[in-house]
């Protein structure tokens, strides 16, 4: 039987979708892990990044931390946390995922606010806006596309990274792959790989659409484009 047949066979067997180790339960775990981790990371990182961006300080530090983060393997962090008092299971996974979601969130919200045209900021000040009003009515709306880009990058990254958690026995879609490997079930291995890859792309696409929707200048740009002109 070819790999292709094994894959189709696995996916079309109803019992593989249900139960504790079934595809649907693994998907549910994966969504929960991603959702909780992104929510915690956003709650910590967005206020921090936005505050730093508003004040205009600490940006290089945030960007340096992002670069250091790239050098630390997720698998290493997961293993260390699992062997630490935190222990095996969801808590270790969530902590690791939150750690890797923080840098893009802080960096993007910082840069989003910093990139606001200084003239626009001056104009707002000249209109008598307070610091909070400037943040709430000018900086935040104009920085929104980059803030959303940060949320998209973080979510996509967490979704992908959550599969690695299967290497230290956590739940989620990665388990279809590790279980498939350890039981020499090529159908399950391939089904897991295809589902993980396909859903990663779907998540990325969906968030890209959301990101376009929250750009306050998009409607202006679209309108301008149809007139053949260019804003900015």
């Amino acid at each position: 039987m070819s790999s292709w047949h094994r894959l189709i066979d696995y996916l079309t067997t109803a019992s593989h979708w249900t139960g504790q180790a079934g595809i649907l339960h693994r998907l549910e775990q994966h969504m929960a892990l991603t959702g909780v981790s992104v929510a915690i990371a956003a709650a910590v990182a967005l206020p921090l990044g936005l505050a730093l961006g508003h004040v205009g300080r600490g940006g290089t530090l945030a960007i340096n931390i992002t670069n250091i983060g790239r050098a630390v393997p997720t698998f290493a962090v997961l293993t260390l946390l699992t062997l630490s008092p935190v222990g095996i299971g969801n808590r270790s996974t969530v902590i690791a995922l939150v750690l890797f979601a923080l840098p893009p969130l802080v960096t993007n919200s910082y840069i989003g606010l910093r990139e606001v045209d200084p003239e626009v900021r001056d104009a707002a000040r000249g209109m008598g806006m307070s610091g909070w009003q400037l943040f709430r009515r000018v900086e935040l709306p104009l920085g929104m596309p980059l803030v959303m880009a940060g949320i998209r990058i973080a979510t996509v990254q967490v979704w992908a990274t959550a599969t690695i958690a299967a290497l230290v026995g956590a739940g989620g879609l990665g388990r279809l792959i590790t279980d498939g490997l350890s039981s020499h079930d090529q159908g399950q291995l391939l089904a897991g790989a295809v589902i993980v890859a396909a859903l990663a792309l779907v998540v990325e696409l969906l968030l890209a659409l959301v990101q376009r929707q929250v750009d306050p200048l998009r409607r202006l740009r679209v309108a301008a484009a149809t007139r053949g002109a260019d804003v900015t």
Binding site: L83, A160, A197
Partner: protein, 227 residues
């Protein structure tokens, strides 16, 4: 009563353990060596593949969206899934890991090299043409050197992220230091986990510094400006 001093840290399963380092030295070094080889081969092949790809995009500009789109999509596939999908074809082997690692470097190299070459000022190209340079000489003597900082930036990102990604290769049995992490997890061996993690980070930092140093020698004209 004699306390088992020497075996202490292994028995207590300490995070830091000199005895672990001395007794398992050979295994650690073998895995470290495999890690370095996996990284170097992946980055080298990745760059070698990215060069014709980048030149193709520059020659046929309309393919830019397609090439960057496809390589980004491949970059978006989680590593565990990419390694797994290759297993039926290339087995539990180093080849599987290398194919995956190379795939992830492509978008980084193409995007950086392309940006570097595109950023060469048109008047510099005009001057080169005015000096009677042919297209090949102009490319090698003017465009590539001016794009070098961007190309090296690509090397830094590709190398550092490859060093981290190699560990996931443990999934299919060839993960360099990832193998140590995998062992450490299944035997609950703290010293092994910490040592492998620290070595991974040190390896990434060393590789990064090495590329920066190479860049310093390759772009002598940038040194004077910053001095």
């Amino acid at each position: 009563m004699v306390l088992p001093h020497a075996a202490d840290c292994l028995v207590r399963n300490s995070w830091i353990c000199g005895k672990y380092l001395s007794t398992r030295r050979d295994t650690i070094l073998t895995d470290l060596k495999q890690h370095v080889i996996l990284t170097v081969v992946a980055v080298a092949i990745g760059f070698a593949v990215s060069v014709p790809l980048t030149l193709f995009v520059r020659r046929f500009r309309r393919t830019e969206g397609l090439v960057l789109g496809l390589t980004s999509v491949m970059y978006g596939i989680p590593s565990v899934a990419l390694f797994a999908v290759l297993v039926p074809f290339t087995g539990l082997s180093g080849t599987t890991v290398e194919i995956g690692l190379v795939t992830y470097t492509l978008v980084i190299f193409v995007r950086n090299t392309l940006a570097g070459l595109d950023a060469v000022p048109p008047d510099v190209l005009d001057a080169a043409r005015g000096m009677g340079m042919g297209p090949v000489r102009m490319f090698l003597r003017v465009e590539v050197p001016l794009a070098m900082p961007a190309i090296l930036a690509g090397f830094r990102v590709a190398t550092v992220s490859t060093v981290a990604l190699v560990t996931v290769g443990a999934l299919v049995g060839t993960g360099g230091l990832g193998q140590e992490l995998s062992d450490a997890f299944s035997s609950y061996f703290k010293a092994e986990a910490l040592t492998a993690s620290v070595l991974c980070v040190l390896l990434a930092v060393t590789a990064d510094l090495l590329i920066v140093t190479i860049g310093w020698f390759l772009t002598p004209w940038r040194r004077r400006r910053s001095a």
